[in-house]
Symmetry: C2
């Protein structure tokens, strides 16, 4: 028998693919978490409220209004309601939120805006809340943070603000090439060859101009010389990540980089940065979005910490 | 009422997506052409013969054996029968062909092998026959040829031989990014902005390291600054083609390049080479495969020209 939970407020991480909600108590501790696959990508604007209430409805106190604070793609143009980007340099989250009008009287939903950079043009939605979570635990931090993912974000932090950032589609490019291009035959499986990854990364970083030639070579070496799929897969990753590191040089050449994510892709980024000659500090990413939502909630509603 | 055609021999261009056959007369003139969508990609090894006979069966003289000479992916490992690659430097086609055993007694099918390069590893199947077609008309040619396509091939020619070549997946990369990545929203349609293409190409060529950063910027500029889809599309092409030209520099920096293909992609490559500071000569590509098949047939069977 599940205990009944009543939320003081509700924190929501609403991305393209997933919806995750936490019932929070007064002092910012999560009492319960629920998630569903009702990501922004599957919903029309008028379906967001039902998806949310289906998940958190019985956390609500029927006698008062419960605040809901959400971050992520829920605030995109194709989301529930567009929350305009805030321009960097600015604090990652907490100075502003968009109130969604006309919702169920038991809830009061606010959406955290994403960040934008005028020149070179760039945007993020969701990662800024992770950054806020990191800064909540490391208030004096100054330096660079990378959030690896489908679209990896590298951000420069100073004085509690994001002063600039850049996005690389390497994750998506690797996914398309390894699953949908002619290379899929050569990189099949999910094995890994660490030494092939490192040497390919070094080459790509040293000579980015050669990257496009390195791609088909994987196919040719596989046909002619029996290149192993694990090595081909690792080399493909090295080519793509080498191009990313070549472009993001300013973020890792000047000092250590905090890599959000302790395993998988985070580990690969940390390794890549070290191979390139930089320094990486890996940080567990689980809980960072929640910490950022809690920090933003405290700033917006003056709640106790 | 269609006139009855009897082929002296049959030329076949059999790629991944399409099958095209010509009824040839004694002096190498095509009498008729037929095509179908029975490309190698849709056939199992035991289905090739039926696909061929369905197309050319009534061109056959029942009283004698008709030679069939095919090129392209029909000779790949997943094709009708694997025709081993010939190693460069070598003539593009005509010195060798694989006889397919056990076919219908009315036909005698041979497949032209593709070309391979040991180091850096590379392969081609089909393009070598186009090169042979070009050389049949330009027997003294020495220089570089580019065959734009999903996988573009740049080849160095000297003394009637292909001395080296390199393949770039730019066409496939552009297709995946423009149709299946997050950029598809920003580059929709099929418009074009020639000036955006040229400046993006120049940037990508001058600083290949920045390419990966330029990709997501198209999305961000589209969201923030209303970048027009035509300009975004042209810039994407410029980024990808700039990376290719940076890698293929040795092929266009030393002298003029013959671009096979008079319109569409051929035109874009010719423009890219000129913008990069090279010289391009565009050649009509239609008929080049047939000319290569005819030239190879003459060498193999000593037929009259």
């Amino acid at each position: 028998m599940a205990a009944t939970v009543t939320a003081e407020w509700i924190a929501v991480d609403w991305g393209t693919s997933n919806l995750r909600a936490w019932a929070m108590d007064r002092d910012g501790t999560p009492l319960a978490m629920r998630e569903s696959d009702k990501g922004m990508g599957r919903l029309k604007p008028d379906q967001f409220e039902d998806a949310l209430l289906a998940l958190v409805g019985n956390w609500l106190d029927e006698d008062r209004i419960t605040n809901v604070l959400a971050c992520g793609m829920v605030g995109a143009r194709q989301g529930w309601m567009e929350a305009d980007y805030r321009a960097v340099p600015c604090s990652p989250a907490g100075s502003d939120a968009l109130l969604v009008p006309g919702t169920d009287p038991r809830i009061r939903v606010s959406i955290l805006p994403g960040l934008m950079q005028e020149q070179p043009a760039d945007v993020m939605r969701g990662e800024e809340t992770q950054i806020a979570g990191y800064l909540a635990d490391n208030p004096g931090f100054a330096g660079n943070i990378v959030l690896p993912g489908t679209h990896s974000k590298w951000a420069r932090i100073a004085g509690g603000e994001v002063t600039g950032f850049s996005t690389y589609m390497s994750g998506e490019v690797f996914g398309l090439l390894s699953k949908q291009s002619v290379l899929r035959h050569s990189v099949a499986g999910d094995g890994w060859d660490a030494s092939a990854f490192r040497s390919s990364l070094r080459e790509s970083l040293a000579e980015p101009a050669a990257a496009m030639g390195g791609l088909f070579r994987l196919r040719a070496e596989s046909l002619l010389h029996g290149l192993a799929p694990d090595a081909a897969r690792a080399r493909l990753s090295g080519i793509v990540l080498g191009l990313e590191l070549a472009a993001a040089r300013e973020h890792w050449e000047t000092g250590p980089v905090v890599v959000i994510g302790a395993s998988g892709l985070g580990k690969r980024y940390a390794e890549a940065i070290e191979v390139a000659g930089g320094k990486a500090e890996q940080i567990e990413g689980e809980g960072m979005t929640l910490a950022g939502l809690a920090s933003a909630y405290n700033q917006l509603h003056g709640g106790s910490k």
